[in-house]
């Protein structure tokens, strides 16, 4: 149907260069793109694919340190590369608008929402200030924001993340542009919040018949939003097709591998024999900061060779649980048992042996590895400290650990963390934990900062190591897809309380606790009709419609 409509944006052979290490490298290598009026194009790819760069180039904009070096960008008959800066500026915000990934960072903290809303229309001479104010309230209402008459008079820090993202979409709409660039608008949000933002964005784009470029790395999300999808890899186009064709019959291997990513599943483990002492047992723990209780009377067990996934949205207390177990935050009440004996609440009072047995792998490998230490020291230090290895034995152990995490020792042993990719850094985090030869490892969102294919590799590695060394894992995550693929047991947390816990097989089968229901139903599926069906179901009172998600 879109083929018959007027063409709005044509990009031909777009080339963009980025500056690093004192020279220009091409980061977008000849991409073509055609967008019709009212059409929504999904741009997907992993980090480094150049999706955001292309999105900004559609506005004739290049970030500092980047430059558009070749090709043409034609927006409704205007050549954006040849147009003067003043002319381009006049288009931005007025005819082409932008919605950023983090609304919290992209709203100016010094001004109220409505002032920022009105700035575009008033500066572009589209509306008077009074009109803009009335218009803002109207759009806030259409974006289903609570208290639309009043919310604009708040400062950004007084509004929750999901609401800010909707307010930002409203702001982008303020001049009724022909085209909006959405740059990962829901990536930073919790799943339950994501649904609300997605449906609000989709509604408003339809209502005003606005064309959009929707940039994301999440296939299931883009399936709900886009008419057609373009897949990018390292600055080049892999393929483009309309959404249903792309989902059902991708032609390129890379696309197929992206589609297949969520296939890894850990084989079902037999139930633990009754009466077995768990490796780690959290018993009636209440903990918090200051007078605030972040955890309220939580209990669960973790057995050898088992993975317990602790799931919850932001503020659910899952990371605080990890801090209590490691002894960084002594609990107010309750205790943590290790192989049946209570651990001292404060890590400073724990013995070397107790510290050795419980290791931790962090979410951000960047901040978890000392940038000034080479891998030899990073991995070798725990082995040296706990196991007393020295000299040749230590060197051999480090090489063995590197082989375990599938990195070539000769090539890697003297590297600095800055000379590694994201996935490799995370592997070093794993090797450091293994070096202590522990029984128990806490994995804190270890895959959430990684691209899907890389994350998949890490999960497989963790699985393999668990079998090899009889490890017990506590896996903290907000991503239910990860839970499905690796957990044996699941603990669902909300606002410091364990809502539901049990074996994975039970957890993913009804009946659920209403919050679990909400959480599970909110995970986008790779079906273009999923969002419609879900909203219908919720309107009818199902799919966890009775409870509130996080962040609102």
């Amino acid at each position: 149907m879109n083929e018959n409509r007027d063409v709005l944006l044509t990009i031909r052979d777009l080339r963009i260069e980025g500056r690093s290490d004192e020279q220009w490298n091409e980061i977008v290598k000849g991409v073509d793109l055609t967008l019709h009026k009212g059409e929504v194009l999904g741009l997907i790819g992993e980090s480094g694919a150049g999706k955001s760069t292309i999105g900004l180039a559609a506005m004739g904009f290049a970030r500092d340190g980047c430059r558009i070096s070749g090709g043409t960008i034609d927006f409704d008959g205007i050549d954006l590369r040849k147009a003067s800066e003043a002319k381009r500026r006049n288009l931005r915000g007025k005819r082409i608008a932008y919605v950023a990934q983090s609304a919290a960072a992209s709203f100016n903290p010094a001004h109220r929402l409505i002032d920022q809303y009105a700035e575009g229309p008033v500066q572009h001479g589209v509306m008077s200030r009074g009109e803009a104010n009335r218009d803002a309230t109207e759009l806030y209402r259409r974006m289903q924001l609570p208290n639309p008459d009043e919310i604009g008079f708040r400062y950004p820090h007084q509004v929750s993340g999901g609401q800010l993202q909707r307010a930002m979409t409203a702001m982008a709409m303020s001049c009724r542009p022909d085209l909006i660039i959405f740059d990962e608008p829901t990536t930073a949000l919790d799943v339950t919040t994501q649904i609300e933002v997605l449906s609000a964005i989709r509604d408003i784009v339809e209502q005003f018949d606005t064309a959009a470029i929707y940039i994301t790395h999440d296939l299931a999300v883009v399936a709900q939003m886009a008419d057609k999808i373009k897949v990018l890899l390292k600055g080049e186009e892999v393929e483009e097709a309309d959404t249903r064709t792309m989902l059902n019959a991708p032609t390129q291997d890379y696309t197929k591998s992206l589609w297949a990513v969520r296939s890894h599943t850990r084989p079902e483990q037999p139930p633990v024999a009754p009466g077995t002492t768990p490796v780690v047992a959290v018993r009636n723990v209440t903990a918090g900061y200051g007078t605030l209780d972040v955890l309220k009377n939580i209990s669960f067990d973790i057995h050898a060779r088992r993975t317990v996934a602790v799931v919850g949205e932001s503020g659910s207390g899952k990371s605080t649980t990890a801090r209590v177990i490691t002894g960084l935050l002594p609990p107010r009440e309750g205790e943590v048992l290790f192989n049946g004996t209570a651990l001292p609440p404060d890590y400073r009072n724990r013995s070397k042996e107790q510290l050795r047995q419980a290791q931790m792998i962090y979410q951000m490998a960047d901040t978890a590895l000392n940038p000034k230490q080479r891998l030899r020291e990073l991995i070798g230090r725990p082995a040296q400290m706990y196991l007393g290895l020295r000299g040749k034995a230590l060197n051999e152990r480090v090489r063995e650990l590197l082989r375990l995490i599938e990195l070539e020792p000769d090539d890697f042993i003297d590297r600095l963390p800055s000379e590694l990719s994201g996935g490799q850094k995370q592997r070093i985090g794993i090797a450091r934990a293994l070096a202590a030869e522990p029984q128990f490892i806490i994995c804190d969102e270890v895959t959430s900062a990684l691209d899907q294919l890389v994350a998949e590799g890490i999960l497989k590695l963790l699985d393999k190591l668990q079998d090899e060394f009889d490890l017990a894992y506590m896996f903290i995550t907000h991503d239910l897809a990860t839970v499905k693929s690796i957990a044996d047991e699941v603990v669902v947390m909300k606002e410091g309380i364990v809502v539901e816990q049990g074996p994975k097989s039970e957890m993913f089968q009804p009946p659920h606790d209403p919050y679990t229901e909400l959480l599970l139903s909110s995970v986008p599926e790779m079906d273009p009709d999923w969002l419609d069906k879900l909203l219908e179901e919720r309107a009818a009172g199902g799919a966890g419609a009775s409870v509130e998600g996080a962040g609102n």
């Binding site: 900004l56 506005m59 904009f61 970030r63 500092d64 500026r89 006049n90 288009l91 931005r92 915000g93 007025k94 608008a97 932008y98 950023a100 983090s102 960072a105 992209s106 709203f107 100016n108 903290p109 010094a110 001004h111 700035e119 575009g120 500066q123 572009h124 708040r154 400062y155 820090h157 007084q158």
Partner: protein, 319 residues
């Protein structure tokens, strides 16, 4: 609003406590003076009686805490800083007139340098990496690095002396009128201006440029806002806290750091008095001047703190 008042009250209380501790440190000065001060002042030939009389007069025969409390009480209740050891005149009398001149000079220099440095800093941020920016930056760095007396003597060399226009020594023997004052104090004021303007300009530029990489600035640019407005409306309000702090720091410097400039131009301010008193170890005067300087410094930092707090909507408008 009440939490803001509470925060300000807390800062005020903290400022008072700091001032109290500072006064204690300053007062401890006499205690730590090596040797018997009275003996030293009167020389070897003094009889024990006269030494004892002087000790009693200076209160040196009292224990420290009594002396300290008396000293503090006199200052707080009647502004009495005691008597100079060098000439026996009341310290308050010597200080008050010179304080007026020092403040005058500080106002003079501030009136020129604050608007000038803000404008230059904003322009440098706006045209960053242009020739203007690089030139302004290099000159600012140069002028920060110069010792004050170097700047002062260059100015004297160029503008005073043989065929010069302005007086190289400030003479207030006759009470000057306002325009006379501006003329006579021109060189010291310009010297100070050069020194502090560079610093404030660089900090203003840095504070703004720091923010230019933030997502909300990119957002403003993507809304099609003009560069000038991006800097003034989107970057500047968020850069206020560091800018206010650096202004306060430099204003404090104008009051307390003028010692060298006052000596070069023989300007009859507090700094000059302090240096003269240090030379002859006239403790009551040194203490008095130091206390006034410290008070001015604490007060300015306090004001800056409060203003910086008020400029932050996160602190003013609670959730």
């Amino acid at each position: 609003m009440s939490h803001i008042l509470k925060m300000i009250a807390q800062r005020l209380a903290l400022g008072l406590v700091t001032l109290f501790v500072v006064s204690l440190i300053i007062a401890l000065g006499t205690e730590l003076l090596p040797g018997d001060f009275a003996q030293e002042r009167l020389g070897q030939s003094a009889t024990p009686e006269t030494v004892a009389a002087l000790r009693a007069q200076l209160g040196l025969d009292q224990p420290f805490h009594i002396r300290y409390l008396t000293w503090l009480r006199d200052i707080v209740t009647s502004g009495d800083f005691g008597v100079s050891l060098a000439n026996g005149n009341p310290v308050t009398e010597q200080i008050s007139e010179r304080l007026r001149y020092t403040l005058w000079l500080a106002f003079y220099a501030a009136a020129i340098s604050v608007p000038l440095s803000l404008t230059l800093g904003i322009l440098a941020a706006l045209f960053r990496n242009s020739f203007f920016d690089r030139f302004a930056n290099a000159s600012a760095l140069t002028s920060i690095s110069f010792p004050e007396f170097f700047v002062a003597y260059i100015l004297i060399f160029l503008l005073a002396g043989a065929g010069g226009v302005f007086p190289s020594m400030v003479n207030f023997r006759t009470d000057p009128t306002f325009s006379e004052y501006l003329y006579r104090a021109f060189l010291p004021a310009i010297t100070l201006t050069l020194v502090v303007t560079a610093h404030m300009m660089r900090m203003t530029r840095a504070a703004i440029i720091n923010l230019l990489a933030s997502p909300y600035i990119e957002m403003a640019r993507l809304k099609g806002i003009k560069p000038m407005r991006v800097v003034l409306r989107h970057a500047l309000p968020n850069a206020l806290a560091p800018i206010i702090n650096v202004i306060a720091l430099n204003l404090a410097y104008l009051i307390t750091g003028v010692v060298v400039v006052e000596v070069v131009f023989v300007y009859p301010g507090l700094g000059q008095l302090m240096v003269d008193s240090v030379r002859v170890r006239d403790m009551p005067v040194v203490q008095g001047v130091a206390l006034i300087f410290a008070a001015a410094y604490v007060l300015l930092n306090l004001t800056a703190d409060v203003l910086a707090t008020l400029s932050n909507p996160r602190l003013v408008h609670k959730r």
